[in-house]
Each structure stands twice: as C-alpha cells, then as structure tokens.
C-alpha cells in the first residue's frame, strides 16, 4: 500500500473505530452536562455551582459561528499565532545550539549551566514587568516572554538527549575513522533529534499558555486598547470580552486557544515523525 493509501485507510478506520466513538461519546456527555448545568436556574430553579454561571454551549456555538465570519476575530488569532511562531522559532534557533554546546563542551557546561539553572525556575510570566521595561516596544516584550516559555524546555531536552546517547556509538564511530565533525553530524545530531522533537512539542504548548497571559497583562495598554498593531491577540480578546461583559465570547476565545495549541502540537508531532523515521513501528 502506498503511504497515502495507508494514511487514508488509517483515517477511515479511525472514524469507525471503537476509540473514536468512545471519544465522541465522552465529548457529547460533557456538552450535555454543560448545557444542562448552564440552564439549571431555568430548569431547576437554582443555579448549579460554577457551571451554573457559565454560558451554555449552544450560545457559545452560535457566538463562535458569528465570530468566524468576523475579520477582527481572525486578526486576534493571527496576532497570537505570529507571536507564538516568533517566540517558538527564536527559542529553537537559540536553544538547540546552546543545548548542543552545553552537552558537547564540559567547560562551557560548567560556565553556563549554573546561570541557566537559576533562571530556569523563574516562571515566564514573572518576566513580564522586566520585559516591558527593557524591551523598547510592547510587541517585543510579548515576543520575549513567549520565547522564554519554550526556550528552557528545549535546552533541557537537548542536553538530556545528547547525554543519553550510548557511549558505544561514539566508540564505534571513532574506531571506524570518524572525525570530530563527522561524529557531531552523524551521531550527536540524529541522536538528539528525538529529544528536540519532544522539547519542541512540549515547548509550543507552553508558548500558547504564555502568549495569552502576556497579552492579557500588557495588551490592554495604551496601544492595545484600540486593538491595533501592538497589543491585541487572543489573550487581549478574552480580556476585552470580560471587560465588555460578553461571556460567550470569553469561552469562544478559550476554545480557540485550546484548538490552536492542540493543532500546533499535532503538526510538530507529525514533522517529528517525518524527521525520525527510525522510531516508527513495524
């Protein structure tokens, strides 16, 4: 069977499989409970705690349909996506070489790891005020905080991945006449690739969490209040909906972020599978 054929077959069997129906049933029950809970005041005369205050899914769906046709909603989603991409790509571009350098050079590791380990536990959001102070524009502050979200995860994964490469691979490569560069290119790089994929998949999830919070905190500033070039984004969209009292919009914003995070992790996993074919089963 060709790759495409196999893919289609897998996709088809996914929709008929037990797993799919179990998942679908779970989501349906969840939505039903939510709908009933939201209408509890009307149905039972008293509001269920927590869920009784949340807009009903039917309302959310209606609002979602309305917003999908709204260019400004897509503008917010676009702004957040671009920030995630910028921060994430910068974290990859700086984090992978840094992690490799720390894994390869004992001296460099000794110098940089203590600093790295002190900075690593600081939550990205704790950087927001400092970022606003030392970056000239608000956009750069948000991008920087987003970058931090993925950066530490990627570096830690690269170091761990490189250190767990079987020492016999180096011995074998050396015996067969490999130069240092050859060992780096053909042993260390492919050896850490699976860890880079894991770091990237986890990192981009953190990036979404961070960008939204950063937008909420800084996006409502002078430029942000107009939803202009600076500020904006899904985080600001949610905050703005809250301030404006449009509760269904809040939920739509939340769901959009969930879908975006899921989609970006799924895309990275696919790219990862394509880049590490030796890990495939069968």
């Amino acid at each position: 069977m060709t790759g495409l054929g196999r893919g289609l077959f897998r996709a088809a069997s996914f929709f008929t499989g037990e797993e799919f129906w179990r998942g679908a049933a779970a989501i349906a029950v969840f939505l039903l409970f939510w709908e009933v809970g939201s209408r509890s005041q009307m149905l039972f005369g008293f509001a269920f705690p927590w869920v009784g205050q949340v807009p009903a899914p039917s309302g959310v769906l209606k609002e979602m349909y309305r917003l999908i046709l709204e260019p400004s909603f897509w503008g917010s989603a676009y702004l957040s996506t671009m920030r995630v991409l910028e921060g994430f790509l910068a974290a990859m571009a700086i984090g992978i070489p840094l992690g490799l350098a720390m894994a390869v050079s004992r001296t460099f590791y000794g110098i940089s790891f203590p600093v790295f380990e002190v900075l690593r536990p600081i939550p990205p959001l704790a950087w927001v005020p400092a970022a606003i102070i030392f970056w000239p524009t608000q956009e750069m502050s948000i991008a920087f905080v987003t970058f931090l979200g993925a950066f530490f995860t990627i570096v830690i994964n690269v170091i761990g991945g490189a250190q767990s490469i079987d020492v016999r691979y180096f011995q074998a490569a050396r015996s067969m006449g490999s130069s240092t560069f050859d060992v780096f290119r053909r042993i260390i790089l492919p050896g850490v690739l699976p860890s880079i994929v894991v770091g990237a998949t986890v990192g981009i999830g953190i990036t979404w969490a961070v960008v939204v919070a950063a937008e909420m905190i800084s996006g409502g500033g002078s430029a942000g209040s107009m939803g202009g070039a600076a500020g904006g984004g899904l985080g600001f969209f949610i905050w703005n909906s809250y301030v404006g009292g449009s509760y269904t919009q809040i939920v739509v914003g939340m769901i959009s972020i969930g879908i975006a995070g899921y989609a970006s992790s799924a895309i990275l996993r696919k790219i990862g599978e394509w880049m590490t074919p030796w890990l495939a089963e069968g």
Binding site: D166, R168, Y169, Q171, A172, A173, R174, S175, M176, G177, S178, S179, D182, R186, I187, P190, G191, L193, T276, P277, W278, L279, G282
Partner: protein, 301 residues
C-alpha cells in the same frame, strides 16, 4: 526467509582459496594492569596480564563473568589506556581507537537512525571512501550476511540475529586487521545462537581474519577457537592457554562426539570452576564483612 538462505551458504572450495591471505594483525598484551577509581578507593580489574592474539587465528577468551574481560577489550580497542604495561599491534603501540581493530559490541551498537545499508557504509563514508568499489563491496557483504532484502530497514526493525549479522558486515567492510567480538551472541535465544555460531564459523573460515572473541560459553569457545585463553577471577590474568587443534570446517555434531573436544572441555571447565569458586569465596567474605559491620553499628546504636 533471507536468514535461512544465509545459513545454507557453505564455504565452497573456490571461495576459500580466493580468501585473502592472512592480513596483518598480531596483538601483544604485555604486563598490562588497569585500575579504576581514585586513590584509596582504587579497584584493580586487570593485573599484570600478558597474552598474544596470533595473526590469522581465532583466539577465544573465556572467564567468569565480571572478571574484567570487557575491560581488556576496551584496552585492546584503544577506548581506554592501561594503567601500566603495553599493548602493540604488529609491534606498533596502541594509542587510541583505530580502523585496524574493530569491535562488535555486546548486544547491538548499530546506529539506530541509519538503515542497514547506511550502517554498513558508515566507515567508508567517514573516511571519504564512498567509491563504486566500496558500494559493490557493501552489496556483496549484504548478500553474504543475508540482509539484501533488509537494506532499507532500521536496526529496530531487524531481529536480534539480523542485527548481529549487520554489525559483522559493518565491521568487515573496513577490512580490519583484527576483529574484536565482545560476547556477540549474548542475549540471543538458543536456536538463533546456534545458527549464528555456525554462520560465524563459516565466515571465519572464509576470511581467516585475526579474531579476538570473548565469551562465557565453553561450548561456543571450543566450537570456534584455535586457541582458548582461560582467565582468572578479578583482577584478571591469563590462567591457562589451551590450543584447539580440531580440523576445520567444524560441525557442531562432530564436536560433541569428539574425545579431544570433550577432554578440552573437561580441562577448561575444571579451571573455570576453580576461578568461579574463588569469586564465590570472595563474595562470601564481602557478605561476612557486611554482616560484621552491620552488627557493630546496631550494638552502638
């Protein structure tokens, strides 16, 4: 299927006469000691050990497990340096790993991210020798180890026996003077192990490359060896050298019925038993020390 095909290849008279005359590769280990750990906590693993791996012969090293055989392999391969003593290949001192001495590791050390073919071509490519002749040689080796149909598979997609054969091919393409095998068939099931031994014996008969083969299996040792080095318990030394002059090519059935082979086996087993008992005694002493120290501490507390 391809596996069976490979095992049915008998070394024909013509292929044996076409085999290259014994390549170089006489290894001499002279008064080598190896100690690990910082001063005060030092542990001597190899003590004043001397032996030779003779050119064109298959020398099997056998000894109690944990006696320091793998350490000797790392020293001969050049991954580590001896604490004292000297190791030479054709009278030239060993200063590091080299393509003249290639190791086939315990379990598998194939690069997981390379296909069978890329693994085999690793050495030539590393030395910028990706020539048509080399590619042809790689094809011939793939054929010889019965993995032509598995050239594009990754190591994880091969069975244990296939992995060992791929690793043999990955070493052989570099035409090493000496092949070093560290318990290469360990971890295989009994059936596959028997097949691999027969297969490896054929391969050796064909190329007659100087070989240093380490094992803990006495039957494997007698079936394959020209010479057997029996090692003492840790810190290890050569306890005895036994020449095995059984005619080649050998058949497992003939070996089990041969009086000479059985005499060698009895001799080797009694020596190994003595060494194993020493390690047992040492183990008991360590246990006794522990019990003593423990009871002292309990009394104090």
């Amino acid at each position: 299927m391809a596996m069976q095909h490979a095992f049915h290849v008998q070394p024909s008279a013509s292929s044996r006469s076409a085999a290259p005359a014994a390549l170089g590769g006489q290894i001499a280990v002279q008064n080598v000691s190896k100690t690990y750990g910082a001063e005060g906590f030092a542990k001597e693993v190899v003590h004043n050990c001397s032996f030779t791996i003779e050119r064109g012969k298959l020398t099997v090293m056998i000894g109690p497990s944990g006696c320091g055989k793998s350490t000797l392999i790392r020293l001969v391969a050049g991954f580590e340096r001896p604490s004292s003593g000297a190791i030479t290949v054709d009278d030239k001192p060993v200063t590091g790993p080299g393509v003249d001495r290639l190791v086939v590791f315990q379990e598998t050390a194939l690069f997981p991210w390379m296909t069978t073919y890329d693994n085999i071509m690793y050495g030539p490519r590393a030395r910028h020798e990706d020539t048509p002749e080399m590619r042809e040689f790689a094809e011939a080796l793939l054929e010889k180890v019965g993995l032509s149909a598995f050239r594009k598979k990754y190591p994880a997609q091969l069975s244990g026996g296939m992995q060992r054969r791929a690793e043999l091919a990955r070493s052989m393409i570099n035409r090493p003077k000496v092949m070093i095998l560290d318990e290469p068939f360990r971890g295989l099931d009994a059936m596959t192990k028997r097949l691999m031994q027969a297969y490896y014996a054929n391969l050796y008969d064909e190329f007659r490359r100087t070989t240093f083969f380490v094992t803990t299996d006495i039957d494997e040792a007698i079936y394959l060896a020209d010479r057997i080095l029996i090692m003492t318990n840790i810190p290890t030394q050569v306890r005895a050298v036994i020449d095995v002059n059984l005619p080649r090519p050998r058949q497992v059935e003939n070996i089990t019925e041969s009086d000479e082979a059985n005499a060698i086996k009895m001799q080797a087993l009694s020596l190994l038993h003595e060494e194993a008992m020493k390690s047992f005694a040492r183990g008991s002493k360590a246990a006794a020390d522990f019990v003593e120290a423990y009871s002292k501490r309990m009394n104090k507390g």
